[in-house]
Amino acid sequence: MARRLPTNPHEWIDRKQSIEFSFEGTKFSGYAGDTISSALMASNQKLLGRSFKYHRPRGILSAANHDANVLLQTSEKVNIRGDVEAPLDGHEYYAVNTIGGLKYDAGRFLKFLSALLPVGFYYKAFYRPRFLFPIWEKLIRRMTGLGRVNTKNKMWRQDRKQHFCDVLIVGGGPSGLAAAETLSRSELQVLLADENIILGGTLGYQHPYSQSGSAFHKNALATIQNSKSIKCLTEHFAAGFYYKRTVPLVGPDGITEVHAKSIIFASGAYEQPIVFRNNDLPGVMLLSAAERLLHRYSVIGFDVGIVLGANSGSYDRAINLKLAGANIVAIVDLGIETLSGEKEAAEKHGIEVIYAKKIIEAVGKKNELSQLKILAKDGGARTMKCDGLLMAAGWAPASNLLVQAGATLNYSDELMQIIPTKMPAGLFAAGQLNGIHELNQKIQDGRSAAAEALKFLNKPSEEISRPERENRAYSHPYPIQTHNKGNEFVDFDEDIQITDLNVAWREGFKSVELMKRYTTIGMGPSQGKVSNMNGVRILAELNKKPVGVIGTTTPRPFTYPVAIGALAGRRLRRYWRSPLHDCHIEANGHFEEAGLWFRSMTYGAGDFNQRVEREYATVRHAVGIIDVSTLGKIELFGSDCVKLLEYAYTCSFEKLTKGMTRYIFMTDSSGVLVDDGVAAYLSEGHFYITATSSHAHAVVKQLRLFAAQLDLNVTIVDRTRQVGAINLAGPLSNKVLEKLIDQPLNSKTFPYLGVRDITVNGIRSRIMRVGFVGELGYEIHAPANSLKNLWEALCSAGKEFNIRPFGVEAQRLLRLEKGHLIFGQDTDGMTTPYEVNLSWGVKLSKERFLGRHSLKELKVSVARKMIAFQCQAHARLDIEECNLIIHKNDIAGRITSVSYSPHCKTTIGLAMLDANSLPADDKIIIKTTNGKMVPAQIATLPFYDPKNLRQDETTLDSYT
């Protein structure tokens, strides 16, 4: 029977505040300050979870989440760590990984299948026979995973904070507190982080009756509280070690990224279990778990407790538990050496001491521990009744961050523990992590680490020497007790038994990294905190080599699981708004993010297709107006403008005359298309170029590099945000514009592809005759602060011609009919000009330009080819971008642009095909998202107005 002590002066709980919650449908109550595990244990609920593979009953092991036995979920949250998280009032908790509830978990019968689930099961099952693969896959997908995510949950995000300090102390136990106390006398900014609610670490539960310890604890807390330079972050764990001493601390409100000049690691050690048959029964726990439960939460998890001691220190700790009110009847000592006086001290407190040769097994009844069977050194086999078994085999340092930081760690044969032997500059280890176990020594070790940190930061400090490590071991060299019927668990997360490691070793996985991956030891949610050390000891025994030679695996971030919402942080992406943003809102624009910009995709009422087609029709038959302020706009001045353009772009500028523009594109050195735009020749030594919306800055950056590298006389002015742009397009566009300028507008004085500086409605503008959407059109560039005036003037002048704003979606459709590419949509990170019919814009005979050498090679080996296609059915088909083109039952390419074309009255698009899959009969098959095969015909580009008749007001009526 587990129970709560009536009083306890050290407890963390607040008995005045009770918390009501449910677990597996049953109501429970606890106090503020409880964890879910402690509150359940206080109500004698020992069965708290089911294991991953065999669904074995599991309870508290560490009471500190060093294991993953107690993983819970509510309908809203998964991966709730019961050992460390507080129960929330009214919440309904369930154990993860059960089939039909915790108590009668149907999965428990899987243990009878354990012979069929050998180590390396996945590799073997997936290897052969191949026809079983889909069956295995279905089964495994259902069985694996811990918890179910409710996909209807609302997304949540947490803040990510930055913190800068001189010294970060990881861990607020005796060593960490001592370090902080020492540093409080300096001016340094110190951050002390601890994963618990209350600072003190082992002081509170392993040394509760030490007078000097209590005095130190009280003093240190007062000093830290009174210090202005020391900040404490409790309930935060250090998740990893990153570049330049950056340590993310994860707490209930999110991640604080700490950038420290120096770090003191006092993160302590994880107590290690003993491996014996049924060591996972609820009731079998680490001695430190019993200590935590008792001293923090006043919970005793058993009526009759036995300590399985396998090291020095377990005697004192057993006596302390007894003094605190727990019924410890015996210490079963597996130790190889005993200190004089230990046995007598225990017996004085009424604790029987038995020297054991071997632990045979723990025996369970109704999912709980009921008996322990051992082989005593004298007296032979013994069966002892108990409902609490407290394991104290030794310690593995919490050294994850040290390893990530590049420290060297070695196994000490004297301490039987891994200890740091070489630390990187500015990093210091102290306490149990450093192989120091005695309380006063831990305090001194913390102080000297602080002195070393002061010295490193060139601050005055007194000399405090490191304490000598004791010459006795606090860890057992081999706490492994094999049983011929198995079920001795080495790894609780993954249900790894001794036999699994044996099999892996026999199959040749003899190095520690290979064994980890093959058996999955240490790969569960607790990342080997309570399994890796025993695994290494077993592997050393199998290899007949010392533990130190075997080494350990590299622990990777994170120390504990971190929620995606915490990692993501707040969304801090900026939007750029066009100078016409208000106009779009007024016109009922439907906005979307496009790169850095927030753009209006369509306008007005109706469904998506109605909106697009309405805007389409306006441009084709009357006049439309679109905001293209997002275009990159770059002005070039200087005598070397042409030299710069010739180097950056692939085409030749020789034939470009003043007052004219031309289409330009650039590639990188490997010949891949990166950007396109228009270059306008304004006057001698004065050019104006545009770049794609999302790539404008990269183009400016690139041009600046070229100009500097080639030592050119060019001044580059990025006008992207100073100048806005409007495209007025449609057969009536000239009529609208004419009303606002005081000069005649015709193709003789201002031809297609011309550029003119003209005043429009009093606003100095630069107008280019471009044909992106395939109609007579004027791209009007004007200062951003007068652009709204210009837009409004054009709209009112166009009223009599039924002018209407059109969005990005209609523009996409219009240009698709015209066969114009959108870079980044119709091209990808490998597209060359030769693949997308742009060879006419590559002048290989130029002496020098970026990409020239690559393009020379690519011209003769074109791997893919862009094609245009048209479906036969006169209907809007369900084809999407990225749908596949199938040729002879194989993937031959993918669709890059697709839309229903009102002009062709069918679905049209662009696709990229493998050059050697081009069909001879011009027929292709498209596989739609829902698996339908749709036939289509390769078409010639453009779909609309091949002779460019629509670009000139004198001829546009002849093409309809």
Binding site: F164, K244, H259, Y647, S669, S670, H697, V700, K701, R704, L705, F706, A707, A708, Q709, L710, D711, D718, E847, R848, F849, L850, G851, R852, H853, S854, K856, E857
Partner: protein, 82 residues
């Protein structure tokens, strides 16, 4: 955080920079496919003292920076062509 004294713009955190390609301008003559391939794709990646182009976006300046690619120690920085 790593700070360094840059010419013109003063003491700056290296977070303010983006790294550019470490190549020189495309030469007029390269010879065969092999040398083109090497020029485009072959990069030295062993830890070393490297000369790199860095771009500082708020001042729009390019710098040539000497850096130890293993320790991230910066040795020198100068503007690219003033």
């Amino acid at each position: 955080m790593n700070y360094f004294d840059f010419p013109v713009i003063g003491r700056r955190s290296i977070d303010e920079f983006t790294i550019g390609d470490d190549t020189l301008p495309e030469p007029s003559v390269l010879g065969n496919v092999q040398s083109t391939g090497n020029w485009v794709f072959d990069r030295e990646s062993t830890p070393r003292k490297a000369t790199e182009y860095w771009f500082h976006s708020s001042s729009q300046l390019w710098f040539i920076v000497e850096r130890n690619t293993e320790t991230d120690e910066l040795f020198s920085a100068e503007t690219l062509n003033g």
